[in-house]
Every structure is written in structure tokens, then in C-alpha cells.
């Protein structure tokens, strides 16, 4: 039982629109194609044994240093602006 659950690349926030012309291709890219970043990587963590918030954690994949943690809701609202 861990406090946090790791979910992967934060690019999952940018879900394509279902009624786009190329939706199938866009969804395929959205779900399967990932950048393999050496350096700062934004990723999703779920605070399961806590306040149940989804977090965007910025982690350096070279040394696991974490430099930023944001609420996913805030980040998504920012994307929409």
C-alpha cells in the first residue's frame, strides 16, 4: 500500500477531441507515443492514501530530483486559457 500511485507522462492531460477528423490517429498518438526524456519530465501521480488529488510532478529522470509539484486541475485550467 503506497501513499502515491504513479501513472506516467503528463501529456495524458491533452486528450484529443473525439469529433476531430483524424480522431483515431490523434488518440493513437495520445495514448501510445511518448517522449523518452533525459532531464525534466512532467508526470502524473495520484495521492491515493491522502487527499486523492492528481498531481503533476516535475522530476529529473537523471537523478530523480523533484523540482515542482502542481495540482492537475490547476494545470489543465491553465492549458485551456
Amino acid at each position: 500500500m503506497s501513499e502515491f500511485i504513479y501513472y506516467g507522462d503528463a501529456s495524458l492531460l491533452k486528450r484529443p477531441k473525439w469529433d476531430n477528423k483524424n480522431a483515431e490517429d490523434e488518440f493513437y498518438k495520445y495514448l501510445y507515443l511518448r517522449k523518452n526524456i533525459s532531464g525534466f519530465h512532467k508526470e502524473l501521480w495520484f495521492h491515493q492514501q491522502g487527499d486523492r488529488s492528481w498531481l503533476i510532478v516535475t522530476r529529473n529522470t537523471k537523478n530523480h530530483e523533484i523540482i515542482r509539484v502542481e495540482l492537475a486541475t490547476e494545470v489543465v485550467k491553465g492549458l485551456d486559457k
Binding site: 473525439w18 502524473l44 495520484f46 492537475a72
Partner: protein
């Protein structure tokens, strides 16, 4: 025995005798001894046999660097193999035995390997056991398994009392030698939270090996005085018998505390710290020469330690062999204690001046050692090539010192080469990290430099923590400068020269590896197994690199080094596991009616974390099937109830709740009327079925979703993801209410009659007022709030009643009373499962993470008219093959033939090979309703093959059955019974 005669040492209490047994023979030691020191004091030099060649081996060192002194500790319930005798604190009644020898350590039959050494050098396994490949499993592997491996397991399932613990501090100091003590004291005085960890069972580190004075007192007294002060500081935690095993990200360290005599024998600590100072000291190196593995050949500093700390004086003639200054201190201490030091063989030209009488063989080397089970003498050679035989029973070797940098490498930091001390130091200078090294761990080999280094490093750390360092006057100490010559191994002679004792790696093995082009350090390590033993090559690695450097005509830093990985010392799995074993591995969740069920004959089954009643046995019932069959028939004929509280319940509220649910489920959910329930299919974004369940609309903006038991957590997480990460602007709030509401399924043609008796009067649940798929909040038993859902998993007229958890247990007792007339019975998960298979409902076995809506014959439940998770990708070709797998029913031609879950389906006339595989059985049971075994299965193109026969084949269980393909809904396919 000479055991009684010990030199006086403040660290050995000769008034307290301790009895122990080694290889069946009784010995005595004293309080303060290790098993190693006690054996040496008893003249036991031969400890075990080596791993590969079964050469006789004795103690080399005095700490966790020990490569040879591995024994099995014999306990009442289990044996602990590969225990380093140099780290075991002696205790009354200790029993130990040698490893890698048969029938005994003195006459070991496997020592024939030693004679065959020409055939089993580096890469032996890779070369020898290559062909024919059919020999591998039957002949080679059992042979290797028998001969290989260190020690043996007792195969007992006894588990020691182990715990896991968590600690937090500002500064973690690893090691309590001179650097560790000084820095812990300065940090402690300055007020930060300090943890000082010491591997040994006493504090003091290398100071315990010495007899010199610090601040006008013996070194051990100085240690005691500073410890006394540290003890007074409440912000300092002292932890001895504790070894830091690994450094992990973000300042987290693992440490193992071992305490044989405490109720909890070992504690695996997870230490969170802001800063760390590595004061782990240094380890002496060997110098390889011919036969340098004979018992009696030890590290020079370790001989000094056995004399000074443990007071051992049964050494007759000691010779020393060195390329540096440190061995001279050993010589001095031996002479001061009246031990016959016959001389020092120094590879250097400029021999040192000494103020004591010592024969120095300058410009000389030890070239060969003699003796079988213990050392008899050595040959030395001087500059002119003259060979002299010297008789001796102990030889102390010093090839220089390696800082114990291991922990500093654990996060991937490469060490740096220091040409002055000819060793690697932690490569921490140019990178920002939370760990620093001080003292001899950072290459400061003289005591003055060590103290000064500790003071400056801890001051830096305190500054970084924004704490003002308190002043502490560090002791001044006069000790010779440390000087070393780059002398790595003796070239003279062609017999074997041992580099890694534990893995039996010789210089020749390194040469073979080099000749065969295994020239990178990583290849060399794996091809020869150099440094891969439980000692991690603490005494041998750098020597091995030096030999490789010489062969490749490079400098050592150019050759590079392998980095160290955790754990620093061997860590037993039971320590890491702690109490999380067996039933303690995971929490157990009990249903609200658990105790009632237990009292009423239920047996239980695990379902995720839950324990659920599987059936309720009556005394007359001998087999479980009798109980299950009775339960099914009772429900289908009258009425029964089942605790289904384990299903996930998610409360969804908000103005956008309906739109939100409509995006979660793939089927249409937009216009669910208030007071109605609907089945929902949930896909993952990749189009695979994630879960299914029902959702009820209690009011305009209030919905209750149910999930399967197993997916309760993951569905909730998924919903939060969809809300927070995809549609945060939607006005929705989610909460899991699985634990708050008990849910009881009441099923059977008489269920309405029974429920009517418990409802408060004003509620009417007649078929007209409360038809199939209705829901309502109401009160029962005189005012208790409850929620009633008219839904059915069994296919009968059925309801599910939610009520606050605390009432569940008394409610079911009451239900038994009011349903007496209808012969109401409780039923378990097995009967529940039988009835759902009879009805063709998919459950966990079908929703296996590879199944699409089409496979479940539910393709119409994926609406292309709206946005829902997984809709787009569910349209992918592979998930919609017209001839793809379909959920079907199977009835054996002979109803008594069981269909086994996991069996595969083949056309009768085709071979049972993967190419002809048409599908597989997911769920099977005996149906008392149909009086036949039945099963659910996925079959290619299955819905078009109803009525055909197919072979159900299980080659593992050697079972083949013919079955008829049919509609998966075996009972009441039109659902008439649901709607009465």
C-alpha cells in the same frame, strides 16, 4: 589452549567467559569478542573452504570486508549461512560450522577441484557446459547446483522477529570513527537532529584498533568521553549494530539493525535525512603473490586490531609485507606487546626510521607462501634476486587502503582516482548532492587530516542547513605522514596468486579474460566474477583494476571502475519483508455481516482484500457442492440473501454529474430518469473493457455508481483522473462510500414478499409502483434510512438493499426471522457465481484486460454518437474483427463431464496446436438448475456457431470433453422472471 592469555585491552572483559561451539567442538571466548577473534585466540586458523577450488581458508580481516571467514550459524529453528565471523558478536551458546566442505573442513573431497584448476579457470562455465544442449537440464545444471553456491539454506519456514522502522533527521552520520564522532558532536551541539550509525557493536571505528593517545588519553577513553557527551544531547540518536545498506533518492537510506538477543532480532530502518556525512573509514588491500591464500596470511591492520582490541597474543612469528607506512604501526604494536615480529618486507627503497628494533627487508617482496592448512613460512626476494626462506605462522599484508566509498556510488556517482593515496575517493566534489564524505572515507588517512576534514565538512553542512555551527576544539595528534608506493602485485612465479579470495579469482584469470578480449571493467567483472561475492570485493577490486591497467598499458583511472550498488552488506530477505509476511502481507477486509456469517456455518474465500462467505454448510452436507446446489435451488424456488457490500460504491454529485457519467460509460447514459438504474459498460482509453456495473439516479444531481469488487479502487482512481485531469471544469464531486453502506442482495420469486415485511408502511414496491430497474431512498424497520434497487444478478426477481453499515449484522438476523415463512436462506459467493454463469453475466474472469465490448457481444453498448473514454480506440480493426472472440455458453454432451476453466477450444478433427486454437473457457460450474455442468467461454465467431459441437481440451490436466456451443444465457434468456 592459549585462550586465557590475552593482552590487557579495555575492549575485552576477561572476567566474563563465553562458551561457544565451532564445527562441533567447544571453545571459550570473552565478552567483547567476535566469533573471529575468539577462534583466533583458540588457535583455530582454518575456517572454511573456498567457493570454487575448495582451498583451505582462514580469517583475512576484522570487519564486514571479510572474504573468507564465512560460516553457518546454527539456530534452534534455522541456520544462517554466509555469516561473516568477523562481524558476529560472540554470545553464550553460539553454534557455528564451516561451509563448502564435505565431509569436514580438514578433509574436503571437493578439494579435487584445486588439482583440476587448469580446467576451471575464468569463463569455465561458459566454455564447458555449451554442448550438447540436451545435456543442460538433466546433467549440467544439477551438477553445477550441487557444487556451486555459498553455504546452504535450512529450508525451514521459521521467520525471525523482524520489523521495519522509519526515522527522520537533519544529518545522518555513517560511521563512528574519529571523523564520525567529531562531526556528530559538532552537529549535535549546534542543535540539529543527528543520527549516528555504527556497524560494529561498539563505537569508535578504527580508533578501537589503536593504542595511541588522543588529547592525552588512550584513544578508547577519548571515544568514551565524547560518547558520554553525545548521550546527553537529546537531539542525537546513537545506533550501533546498525549498517547502512543503501542510499536512495531524496536522502532516503536503508539501514539494518541486528540484535540477536532482543525480542525483535532485526529492524530494517528507512532513514529520511536532509544531509549525510559518510564517515565509513577505509579498508586495507591485499597484495597478490603465489599461494597468498593460506590460512595465517592476513591484512596487516587486522593483525594489529586483533592484538590491540582483542588482546590476542598466540602469534609465534609474525612477518609483515607492505608497500606503505601503515604496516610499521602494526610492527610497533606487536613489539610493544612482546610478540615476535620477525621483520617487515617493504617493497620500497626508502625504508623508514623506527624508534624500535625491527628487521627491515627493504626493496624486497614476498614471492611465495608455504603450508597446507596453515602458514609455515614464506620466500622473499630482494633487489639482487636473492631468495630467502623465512619461517613464520602469520603474515600481515598491507597493499594500501581503499576509502569505503560504496554508499556514495549508490545513486550513480562515479568515484575519482586519487594518485596520492593510490585509491578511489567519492566523486562528490563537483556535483550537488545531499551526501558528503569525511575522514579516511574521503582519503584523509592521517588522524589530523581526518579530524580537520570532518570539522570542515560538517561546518559546510550546517551552513547549508542555515544553522550556526558551535565551536568544538578538535584534538591535535602527531602521526606520521602516509606514504605509499604503487606496488600492486608480485610478478615473480607462475603459481596461482589470489586477487579475490571469496570468488577464487587469480591474476591468471584476469589475464585469460584480457586475452579473450573481456577488457572493459564491466566485462572483466562478469567473466571472472571478480568482486561479485558477498564482500563485494572490498579487499580486491582496486587490485584487480590495477592488474587490468597493467595488462592494457593504461593508468587505473583510464581503465575506470565498476560502481557499487546496494546493499553494502548482505541483507536477508526476512529483514526487508519484516512483518509483512503470510497473512500480514496485506490487510484483511471483513464484510459487515462477517461475524454473523461465521456463526451461521459460512466458510470464507478471498476476494481481493476481502473475505467473503463462499457457502453456508448445513450439518447434513458432506461436500461443498451440496451446500451450493441447495443455495441456488432455494433462491430460484423461493428466496435467499447475500452480502454484496464488497462491490465498489461511488457517490457522484454535482450539476454536471449526468454529463460526467455519460463520458465515463460507453453506452448511452444521458437521459436516465430519476428513480431509475441502468447497466453501464466502462472502457479504458485503449478500447478494452475496464469494468461494468450499475448506476442509479437518486435525484437530479445525485448518482450512485457500483463497480466490481476487484476494481473498486481503480475505477474510483480512474474517475478522479477523468475529472481532475480531463474535465476539471465539470461540476462533479466523487467519493467512495463502499465502507459506509452495507449492501444486501435479496433474490428469488418470494423476495418482494419478504422485503415488504421490513419496509416502513408508507412505501409501496409493487411491480407497478416499483418496476424492474427502479431505485428509491426509503426507510426500513421503523425509520432506518435505506436505499432499495430493483436489480438482479441472479436472474430472479431481486433487489439490492443498501443500509448504513452498522445495522447490517442485526438486519440479516432480522431478515432470517421475517423470512422464515418463505424459508429464506443466506447464500455465498459460489452460489452467486453459479447463478451469474447460468445468466451469462460477465465477471472478473471474463473482464480479463484483453476483452473488447464486441467480445462480450456488447458492441451496441459503445455509442459512436458521443464522447466517452475508449470509444475512439475501440473502433480499431483488431478489436472489431467480425470473426473475433465471442462470449458463448458451453454444455458438455455428457452433463456429468466437468468443463475446466482455462481449457482451450478446438474443432474436433483438428490438431491441438496453437494455430488451431479457437478460444478458451473462462468460467465453469455445475448448474443445479439445468442438472449439468456448464461454462462460459470466448470462441472465435462463436455467436454464429450455436448448436455445433466443439472440443474442450486441457492438455495440462490431460482432459478432453466434447461440448455444445450455446447462448451464454442458460436460464430465462428473455428475462421474464426479472419483470414479474
Amino acid at each position: 589452549m592459549s585462550n586465557i592469555n590475552r593482552i590487557k585491552s579495555s575492549l575485552i572483559d576477561t572476567t566474563k567467559e563465553i562458551n561457544f561451539v565451532f564445527n562441533g567442538k567447544k571453545y571459550k571466548g570473552f565478552e567483547g569478542d567476535t566469533l573471529g577473534s575468539a577462534l583466533l585466540a583458540n588457535d583455530v586458523k582454518l575456517i572454511g573452504r573456498s567457493f570454487k577450488y575448495h582451498r583451505p581458508r582462514g580469517i583475512v580481516s576484522h570487519g564486514s570486508e571479510e572474504p573468507n571467514g564465512l560460516v553457518e550459524i546454527i539456530n534452534d529453528h534455522y541456520n544462517e549461512p554466509n555469516t561473516k565471523i568477523t562481524t558476529v558478536e560472540l554470545y553464550e551458546g553460539l553454534k557455528a560450522k564451516s561451509q563448502n566442505c564435505w565431509p569436514s573442513v580438514k578433509y574436503d573431497l571437493m578439494s579435487i577441484n584445486d588439482k583440476l584448476s587448469n580446467f576451471i579457470s575464468a569463463g569455465f562455465y561458459y566454455k564447458t557446459f555449451m554442448w550438447p544442449s540436451s545435456f543442460w537440464e538433466k546433467i549440467y545444471e544439477p551438477l553445477i547446483r550441487k557444487a556451486a553456491g555459498l553455504g546452504s539454506l535450512s529450508l525451514s519456514n521459521f521467520s525471525r522477529n523482524s520489523e521495519k522502522g522509519f526515522l527522520h533527521c537533519d544529518v545522518l552520520i555513517i560511521g563512528s570513527g574519529p571523523a564520525g564522532l567529531v562531526s556528530a558532536y559538532i552537529a549535535g551541539l549546534s542543535g540539529v537532529r543527528v543520527i549516528l550509525v555504527e556497524e560494529d557493536f561498539i563505537y569508535g571505528g578504527s580508533l578501537n584498533n589503536e593504542v595511541f593517545h588522543i588529547s592525552d588519553m588512550p584513544a578508547q577513553n577519548w571515544v568514551k568521553s565524547i560518547l558520554k557527551n553525545l548521550d546527553k544531547l537529546s537531539n542525537v540518536r546513537l545506533m550501533k549494530k546498525t549498517t547502512v545498506t543503501g542510499m536512495f533518492d531524496h536522502g532516503i537510506f536503508g539501514a539494518i539493525e541486528k540484535n540477536k538477543h532482543k525480542k525483535i532480532e532485526q529492524i530494517f530502518w528507512k532513514i529520511n535525512t536532509k544531509k549525510t556525512l559518510l564517515c565509513s573509514g577505509s579498508t586495507e588491500r591485499i597484495i597478490p603473490f603465489q599461494n597468498n591464500d593460506i590460512p595465517g596470511i592476513m591484512l596487516s591492520g587486522s593483525i594489529r586490531s586483533y592484538v590491540n582490541r582483542w588482546g590476542i597474543n598466540n602469534l609465534q612469528k609474525v612477518l609483515l609485507f607492505t608497500n606503505n607506512d601503515d604496516a610499521y604501526l602494526t610492527a610497533k604494536n606487536l613489539i610493544e606487546n612482546g610478540i615476535n615480529c620477525i621483520g617487515i618486507v617493504d617493497t620500497r627503497n626508502s625504508s623508514k626510521k623506527t624508534d624500535y628494533k625491527l628487521k627491515i627487508y627493504k626493496d624486497s617482496q614476498v614471492i611465495n607462501a608455504f603450508g597446507k592448512l596453515n602458514l609455515k613460512g614464506v620466500n622473499i626476494i630482494n633487489k639482487e634476486g636473492k631468495i630467502t626462506y623465512l619461517e613464520c605462522d602469520y603474515l600481515g599484508v598491507s597493499g594500501g587502503w581503499n576509502p569505503n566509498i560504496h554508499i556514495s556510488c549508490h545513486t550513480g556517482v562515479k568515484p575519482e582516482w586519487n594518485q596520492e593515496i593510490l585509491a578511489f575517493t567519492p566523486g562528490l566534489n563537483n556535483i550537488s548532492t545531499h551526501i558528503e564524505a569525511a575522514g579516511s572515507a574521503s582519503g584523509k588517512f592521517t588522524l589530523n587530516a581526518c579530524f580537520a576534514d570532518a570539522e570542515s565538512k560538517i561546518t559546510n553542512i550546517l551552513n547549508e542547513l542555515k544553522v550556526k555551527p558551535k565551536k568544538y576544539v578538535i584534538p591535535k595528534f602527531n602521526r606520521d605522514k602516509y606514504n605509499i608506493d604503487p606496488f600492486w602485485y608480485v610478478e615473480h612465479g607462475s603459481q596461482r596468486k589470489w586477487v579475490d579470495f571469496q570468488n577464487d579469482v587469480t591474476i591468471k584469470d584476469i589475464e585469460i579474460a584480457y586475452d579473450e578480449n573481456f577488457r572493459s571493467v564491466e566485462h572483466l567483472k562478469r567473466y571472472t566474477t571478480l568482486g561479485m561475492g558477498t564482500d563485494q570485493g572490498k579487499t580486491s577490486n582496486v587490485t584487480g583494476l590495477a592488474i587490468l591497467a597493467k595488462l592494457s598499458k593504461k593508468l587505473i583511472p583510464e581503465v575506470g571502475t565498476t560502481v557499487f550498488r546496494p546493499p553494502y552488506i548482505p541483507l536477508s530477505l526476512d529483514a526487508v519483508v519484516g512483518q509483512h509476511i503470510g497473512k500480514n502481507l496485506k490487510p484483511i477486509r471483513l464484510t459487515p455481516t462477517h461475524n454473523w456469517a461465521k456463526a451461521n456455518g459460512a466458510s470464507f474465500t478471498e476476494s481481493g482484500l476481502w473475505l467473503r462467505a463462499e457457502w453456508y454448510s448445513k450439518k447434513s452436507e458432506k461436500k461443498w457442492r451440496e451446500s451450493v446446489d441447495r443455495e441456488v435451488i432455494s433462491v430460484r424456488n423461493s428466496v435467499g440473501f447475500c452480502d454484496v457490500s464488497t462491490l465498489g460504491k461511488i457517490d457522484i454529485q454535482g450539476r454536471d454529474a449526468q454529463d460526467f457519467i455519460n463520458k465515463i460509460y460507453s453506452n448511452r447514459f444521458a437521459k436516465l430518469p430519476i428513480g431509475k438504474v441502468r447497466y453501464g459498460l466502462m472502457l479504458r482509453e485503449d478500447g478494452i473493457v475496464m469494468d461494468d456495473g450499475t448506476t442509479a439516479r437518486m435525484s437530479e444531481n445525485h448518482f450512485i455508481m457500483t463497480t466490481t469488487t476487484i476494481n473498486a479502487e481503480s475505477v474510483y482512481r480512474h474517475l478522479e483522473f477523468c475529472h481532475q485531469c480531463l474535465w476539471p471544469k465539470m461540476d462533479v464531486r466523487l467519493i467512495s462510500t463502499t465502507d459506509a453502506w452495507a449492501q444486501i442482495a435479496i433474490a428469488g420469486p418470494n423476495s418482494r414478499k419478504v422485503i415488504s415485511k421490513i419496509l416502513d408502511k408508507e412505501f409501496d414496491i409493487s411491480n407497478e409502483k416499483f418496476p424492474f430497474m427502479s431505485c428509491k431512498e426509503l426507510t426500513i424497520c421503523g425509520g432506518i434510512t435505506a436505499r432499495l434497487f430493483r436489480i438482479s444478478f441472479s436472474g430472479e426477481l431481486a433487489y439490492e438493499l443498501s443500509l448504513p453499515t452498522q445495522y447490517a449484522s442485526s438486519f440479516v438476523s432480522y431478515l432470517m426471522k421475517v423470512g422464515k415463512e418463505e424459508n429464506i436462506i443466506p447464500y455465498g459467493t459460489e452460489a452467486l457465481g453459479v447463478m451469474r454463469i447460468e445468466k451469462g453475466h460477465a465477471a472478473g474472469a471474463e473482464l480479463n484486460g484483453t476483452i473488447s465490448a464486441l467480445n462480450l457481444n456488447m458492441e451496441k453498448l459503445v455509442s459512436p454518437q458521443k464522447d466517452s473514454i475508449g470509444m475512439i480506440l475501440s473502433k480499431r480493426e483488431g478489436l472489431c474483427l467480425p470473426n473475433g472472440l465471442r462470449l458463448i455458453g458451453l454444455k458438455p454432451i455428457n452433463p456429468k463431464n466437468q468443463l475446466i476453466s482455462g481449457s482451450h477450444l478446438f474443432n474436433e478433427n483438428e490438431n491441438r496446436i496453437p494455430e488451431n486454437d479457437l478460444g478458451y473457457v473462462t468460467s465453469s460450474c455445475y448448474s443445479p438448475t439445468l442438472k449439468s455442468f456448464i461454462a462460459l467461454a470466448f470462441l472465435k465467431n462463436g455467436t454464429r456457431r450455436y448448436g455445433q459441437k466443439i472440443n474442450v481440451s486441457n492438455p495440462i490436466l490431460k482432459n478432453e470433453t466434447m461440448a455444445e456451443i450455446c447462448n451464454p444465457i442458460f436460464v430465462d434468456p428473455n428475462g421474464d422472471k426479472l419483470r414479474v
